[in-house]
Point group: C2
Chain length 139, copies 2
């Protein structure tokens, strides 16, 4: 009797739910330092999922760092631009990470159909969006 | 001359960076309601990326809802178990969403090699981990 087969790896593939739009040519490194306004254009097939998003609230947005270089072991420790110190990647908000998924907390300015106007953008124009979650520190 | 080809879709595939371990048979629906303790076992190849994670701090953990049913349009509006009201999926923390990525904010109890002991678990034993980010509401 041979050794048991290892379980097949879970396949984890993402689909875009929309795209970020902003006229800003550059964006702050972190949402908490950003007053940049922009728009989240969600694909119409997901319109019904947006029905409870209200102006004034904060939302958590997950997105794909589509213009970041590929992650290599050399990126496990990175020099942060602000502090200038070397830090382990999991203690930074660098876009170069094993899974290039970004997270921002944005303020909703308005919702019009499947377009969500937001403030606090730190993503580039054209960035693929992955998810929107409610932002609450309490359940 | 024919119409221009559309750009190829971005391929967004994730890799596990480790796995969540907990002895709890069930977990709260949301980390903010959880005192469950557990352990994040990070793959040794990423050890250097953990060097600045300290006991007492809070970390943002992204993970894959590997036991959730596939998302369909019927899940765009869902009844939440606590409030009992119907809500658009992007205003819920349901594990059934277009991209089944979960986000938790956990408190670090200790770090030993590539094992991070945490409190506030709302993920099941064996859940694939995707990312760890620093938790700070200010830059």
């Amino acid at each position: 009797m041979g050794a048991p087969e290892p379980p097949p790896p879970v396949r984890m593939e993402l689909v875009p739910i929309g795209v970020a739009r902003t006229e800003a040519g550059s964006v702050p490194r972190h949402w908490s330092a950003s007053q940049v306004r922009g728009r989240l254009l969600i694909d119409p097939e997901h319109a019904a999922g947006l029905r409870d998003i209200r102006p004034g609230e904060r939302i958590v947005v997950l997105f794909w760092f589509d213009r970041s270089p590929a992650f290599t072991p050399a990126h496990l420790v990175q020099r942060t631009p602000r502090a200038g110190a070397e830090k382990g990647v999991f203690s930074t908000c660098s876009p170069v990470r094993p899974n290039p998924v970004g997270m921002s907390v944005l303020r909703v300015l308005g919702v019009s159909g499947t377009a969500i106007d937001v403030e606090g953008m730190d993503m580039l124009d054209g960035t693929p969006l992955l998810d929107i979650k409610p932002h609450h520190e309490e359940a």
